[in-house]
Amino acid sequence: MKFPTWAFTNASAIGTSHQRRGEECQDSSLVVAPRGCPEHLGNPIIAAVADGAGTARYAADGSSTAIRVLKEEICRILTSPSGVLTESGLKSAVLMAANHVDGLALQRGHASREYASTLICVVLMHDHAWHIQVGDGAAVFGYGENRVVSYWPAKGEYGNETFFITDENFQEQLHIHRLDQLPDDVTLFTDGLEGIALNLATQEAHLPFYESFYRVLSQREAGYQLDLENHLKEWLQSDLVNSRTDDDKSLVLISRTRPSRQSIS
């Protein structure tokens, strides 16, 4: 049985509002192909983005810790003999990440809310996928010509309010969903890119945005695309993007590779 393989890349870039104030980027992102998984799992991928709350002093630590711990715990499950991911297993993993962030705050004598962060994670298995989300930003799944936003960015009463893993009742805002059909591509981004990647009025993905990336990425061989990461970093800091948002920006792009060509004998 041939398992799907993936070409992927990611980048996070500081927003001009933080840059102007000499502050750091509070976004974090990652995409990895864990090694040491049992063979029957194929080539799983773990991707995550997280956006530290603007008013949280140590938001950068909050977002980076959250995705790191979540990724490590999912890796641990995937590399265990069964390698089975379940909804409750993922919920525990998120709780572990949230607790870790709380623990870090406690250790340093800070309030948890100074580490507030949103969290989006997608795990690609060989015939299904998982989507975890707390807060805003989005994961967009490509199926043929369609791009599906199965969970719309969660906002509070006002457009600049959302939910964080450090909120007392964040579990009420925890979305975990199993996608029974494996997508052709997956895009993750934080709220800084919502305005250019989504049509807010129709609640749909803006297709040309994704096409401009996937016509390149879909032609690549499997693995992390380091050269594209550099292009992505540049693009995230371009005038085109910064004229539309001054927020921190994160983008993860994952594409199924073309079926490998047979060598011509």
Binding site: G54, T55, G159, N160, I196, L200, F213, L240, R244
Partner: protein
């Protein structure tokens, strides 16, 4: 001879605006509630007018805030809606003149009604998440000449961590009744020594710009008298 092959330049990601989604900007409505009573005649009203111009200029110079911050101008007394909500880039500060009493209570209630209606309009026409928490910014050099306790109750009811209907700020210039202001405003009112209204307006424009953008507007504080030190 073979023709040179034309290379399309390598492009990864949207290269022009057509590949980006077009969405309306979020709006942050702000009511400026300005005392133009008789005691403001002379240098105070002059400072106020200059401050208003600086306010508009600062906001208009910010490419995102100019479209997102909406300004309505209410003066008192008598209570008058000088300018209904317009985006900062379209705001034309009128020249204000002083004269009249100080019906602060009525003016505050009007401001509260204005933001409530504006929120509905924005949500209905632009989308449910397109409105940011509105600001009401009161500047006075005296005390109310009308009944103000009802207004104070409404401010307390609206500006708190549960209801979050708006954020209410009060600034007292020379002669202001700070005691009354601290009963109306939940946030401690700021006493502006001298007439540094221009600085105050520049601070306000900067704060609104911040709120109108990426930050959630929870923790902005006034730090008197140095308008440049605001923690957010």
């Amino acid at each position: 001879m073979s023709e040179p092959i034309e290379q399309t330049p390598f492009s990864f990601g949207p290269s022009d605006a057509t590949e980006l989604a077009e969405n309306p900007e979020q709006r942050c409505p702000c009511v400026l509630l300005l005392d133009t009573s008789g005691s403001m005649a002379g240098p105070p009203i002059k400072e106020l007018n200059e401050g208003l111009r600086a306010f508009q200029e600062e906001l208009a110079a910010d490419s995102l805030a100019r479209k997102r911050v909406e300004i309505a101008l209410v003066t008192f007394g008598p209570v008058k809606l000088e300018t209904d909500f317009v985006t900062a880039e379209n705001f034309e500060p009128p020249i204000l003149t002083a004269g009249g009493d100080t019906p602060m209570g009525a003016a505050v209630q009007l401001a509260i009604e204005l933001v409530a209606r504006r929120k509905d309009v924005i949500r209905q026409h632009l989308g449910p998440t397109m409105c940011l928490r509105p600001w009401i910014f009161l500047v006075t050099d005296g005390g109310p000449t009308d009944e103000w306790h009802s207004a104070a109750t409404k401010v307390q009811e609206g500006d708190n961590d549960q209801k979050k209907a708006f954020s209410f700020w009060a600034v007292g210039v020379r002669g202001a009744n700070m005691d009354v202001l601290s009963q109306i405003s939940r946030r401690p009112p700021v006493s502006l020594d001298g007439l540094r209204l221009r600085d105050m307006f520049v601070w306000l424009s900067s704060s609104l710009s911040g709120v109108a953008k990426s930050q959630s507007g929870a923790q902005v504080q006034l730090s008197a008298p140095d308008w440049t030190s605001v923690s957010s």
